[in-house]
């Protein structure tokens, strides 16, 4: 909001142009404390409601009918009720008022909030004249604004997702504004956070605001954003403090701290909006593929083992990446504290194979049969099996093809009378053909 607009705000409040800021503020506070002070200049709420209290009161603006009805009962419960009508609708302080009133300027009171909003993705879009961008009233309501802590408020934690979802559950709107996540609301409601909120009614469950902020929401590619790639661990860590510590001790967290843009952050494995319970079978299997999207070679060699084959089939009963490497606090094998450090292998394998010993853990969970140096036994076994397969099918492929050809030819050329099949003499065959037409 620029300075011209801001000065207009005070004009609106004081109904006198160009007054001093301090005086304006005092006046506003005074208005709040002693609504009667406004009396001489304003009509009473009852007067306003004598018209606007009537259901169905409406007018036509730009061809659309706009309701002018104010529900007195709702307004009386709103946080702004003590202000009366004219504090916000200053140009309606005297009746008859103009046929078209100026928009209500919330920033007159909520200046700091407006500053944050002006820098937000919604504020910027709104300043550009984008009618879809959320403004104060889209989230907070109009005459029925309640305190955030009021369970009936549109921005009460349990109600907030529905409020944001009014826009962010509309794929059409998302496409129009090139919002990458077209159905954030639906995804969120099915997520572990959404369920905690809707099913369990947990106020502590992360809602939209917990991750994105409220008035100062910025797009994820803005380094100031709470959901900027490298800021995400800190944002999630606001609640998941223990995981936050583990994560930054592990290789991925350390890379992120060192400035890596590719090292995985929370959402790469858990996703942003559709976060699921980690006990769910489908998630357990997808996460293997997710690790493999960076660790391609490790996934390829894992798939060649029994563990990898079973998970590929869709069953998570066997070892997955995290069972051996850990999840948040992944350490390189060279670190003695790592679960895959040679000294810890027996105890790591023992989690599933209670009888594992030093011999047993010489198993290669990422065996590569093409690596002669590392796995000579496997290499030669693979070469032998390949040769056997090729040799057998080469020989019998040729053998069978020749046999097939010869037998077919023999069958066509001559049908000796001692064949089991009905003897078919060439002349008889011809005779059949002649008879046909």
């Amino acid at each position: 909001m620029d300075s011209k607009d801001a000065s207009g705000l005070y004009r609106t409040i004081l109904m006198k142009p160009g007054k001093h800021l301090l005086r304006s503020s005092i006046f506003i506070i005074a208005l709040f404390l002693f609504p009667a002070l406004a009396e001489p200049q304003t009509v009473s709420q009852e007067v306003c409601l004598s018209c606007h209290g009537a259901p169905g009161l409406q007018k036509v603006r730009q061809g659309k009918s706009v309701s002018l009805h104010v529900e007195a009962e709702k307004f009386s419960r709103s946080v702004h009720a003590p202000l009366g009508c004219a504090v916000c609708h200053s140009d309606a302080a005297k009746i008859p008022h103009a046929s078209e009133l100026k928009p209500v300027q919330c920033a007159a009171c909520h200046g700091n909030t407006l500053q944050a909003y002006a820098q937000s993705v919604h504020g910027k879009a709104s300043a550009k004249g984008d009618g879809d961008a959320a403004t104060c009233s889209d989230c907070h309501g109009r005459h029925d604004i309640l305190r955030t802590k009021d369970p009936n408020s549109q921005v009460y934690p349990l109600n907030l997702p529905r409020t944001c979802g009014a826009c962010h559950g509309d794929p059409e709107l998302a496409r129009r504004h090139r919002i990458p996540v077209t159905n954030a609301y639906q995804l969120y409601m099915d997520s572990i956070h959404g369920r905690a909120l809707t099913k369990s009614g947990l106020l502590v469950a992360a809602n939209c605001v917990s991750c994105h902020g409220s008035h100062g929401i910025r797009p994820s590619n803005d380094p100031e954003s709470k959901v900027y790639r490298t800021t995400i661990p800190a944002t999630c860590g606001n609640c998941h403090a223990g995981i936050h510590t583990d994560y930054f001790e592990g290789v991925h967290g350390r890379s992120v701290k060192a400035g890596s843009q590719v090292a995985p952050v929370c959402i790469d494995c858990h996703t942003a909006h559709e976060i699921r319970r980690v006990e769910m079978e489908a998630w357990k299997l997808e996460i293997v593929r997710e690790c493999g999207s960076c660790h391609r070679e490790s996934l390829r060699t894992y798939r060649d083992t029994f563990h990898g084959q079973v998970t590929s089939l869709g069953f998570a009963r066997v070892a997955r990446c995290s069972d051996c490497h850990g999840s948040h606090r992944i350490l390189p094998a060279s670190d003695r504290a790592s679960s895959v450090a040679p000294v810890n292998l027996v105890s790591t394998c023992k989690k599933c194979h209670p009888e594992a010993n030093e011999n047993f853990v010489r198993f290669l969970p990422h065996a590569d049969p093409s690596d002669k140096q590392k796995n000579p036994g496997l290499y030669y076994a693979a070469r032998f099996m390949d040769s056997l397969l090729v040799g057998v099918f080469l020989f019998f492929g040729i053998h069978t093809s020749l046999w097939m050809f010869r037998s077919t030819m023999a069958g066509w050329r001559r049908k000796p009378p001692d064949e089991r099949e009905e003897p078919v003499e060439p002349d008889k065959e011809n005779g059949d053909e002649e008879r046909k037409p």
Binding site: R303, D304, T305, F306, G308, Q309, V310, T311, S312, L313, G314, F315, R317, H353, P354, E355, A356, N357, N359, F360, V361, R362, F363, L364, A367, P369, N375, G377, L378, A381, A382, M385, D386, L388, L389, V392, F393, F396, H399, T400, L402, W403, M404, F405, R406, S407, T408, M409, A410, G411, D418, R420
Partner: protein, 279 residues
């Protein structure tokens, strides 16, 4: 074909005893079962493998079934080896190890293979095959070797905790590789080469029922295994194995089982080949 027998209709001779037919039946069933429950794991990335595993009731079920079939096949293997030892050392039929009735490759097998190739190119007559032809012996030893190697590697993996006590862990990697590759070789071999050699070639198409009925006609024996016919005639044992014509119900049962196995086999061959090529 001139028959000395005044009775009408062709003469039949017993070629495969009931015991062997039964063992072959169990072998066939367990082999199919092992292929159907093992190949999905080998090609775990394929949709059909995933769907099949789900349909059966999950990987746990597949593994249990695989082990049941493995046990059955092991039983076949042991029964057969036991039978061979019984023949050789109890009944003193050392011929089981060497000679015209042995499945052990003989010099004449290599000669017959060479002659057979000559016949393929129309450069000579068909060889005078005996009781077992060289491709039948290959089938036999392929299955024998296959059971030994797949079985051993399978049991090593099944009882990995036990074997891990004295074997290095990387042997499990080799065990899985050999188990899977040898199984693939076996499955493809049986469902293509064996099917063709024994059933689908023009002389036998669509099925050779001898493995179900156990009986061959005199004409068939004479034409396809002249050396065997000569030997049996010469020894005078031909009459001893003379049998009645196979009953229709047995032939139909054989057709039912045989065609089912061929269809399932082809299906498995197609699916595994497709998955193999898209790897």
């Amino acid at each position: 074909m001139k028959s000395e027998n005044p009775e009408p209709g062709p003469k039949y001779y017993l070629r495969i005893e009931l015991y062997h037919r039964l063992v072959h039946g169990v072998l066939m069933a367990s082999f199919l079962g092992l292929a159907a429950t093992g190949m999905p794991l080998r090609f775990g990335q394929s949709t059909w493998a995933i769907e099949l595993t789900r349909a059966v009731g999950g990987f746990g079920t597949v593994l249990v079934l695989h082990k049941i079939f493995a046990f059955l096949l092991t039983l076949c293997f042991l029964l057969h080896v036991g039978y061979i030892f019984y023949l050789a050392f109890v009944r003193g039929e050392i011929g089981v190890f060497w000679g015209p009735t042995s499945t052990v490759p003989q010099p004449k097998d290599f000669l017959e293979m060479f002659q057979h190739f000559r016949w393929f190119f129309a450069m000579g007559p068909k060889p005078q095959f005996g009781r077992f032809t060289y491709w039948e012996k290959f089938d036999y030893w392929a299955v024998f070797w296959g059971m030994a190697i797949i079985g051993t590697s399978g049991y090593v993996m099944w009882f990995s905790s036990f074997f891990g006590k004295f074997l290095p862990g990387w042997l499990f990697n080799i065990a899985l590789l050999i188990h899977a590759d040898e199984a693939l070789l076996a499955v493809w071999f049986i469902f293509t080469i064996h099917f063709f050699n024994s059933h689908l070639r023009p002389e036998k198409f669509p099925i050779d029922l001898v493995i179900f009925t156990g009986r061959v006609s005199e004409e068939e024996l004479q034409k396809e295994r002249p050396a065997e016919f000569e030997r049996l005639s010469g020894e005078g044992t031909l009459e001893a194995i003379q049998a009645s014509a196979p009953p229709l119900w047995l032939k139909n049962l054989g057709r039912l089982i045989g065609f089912s196995v061929i269809v399932v086999g082809f299906l498995l061959f197609g699916l595994t080949l497709l998955a193999f090529l898209s790897e």
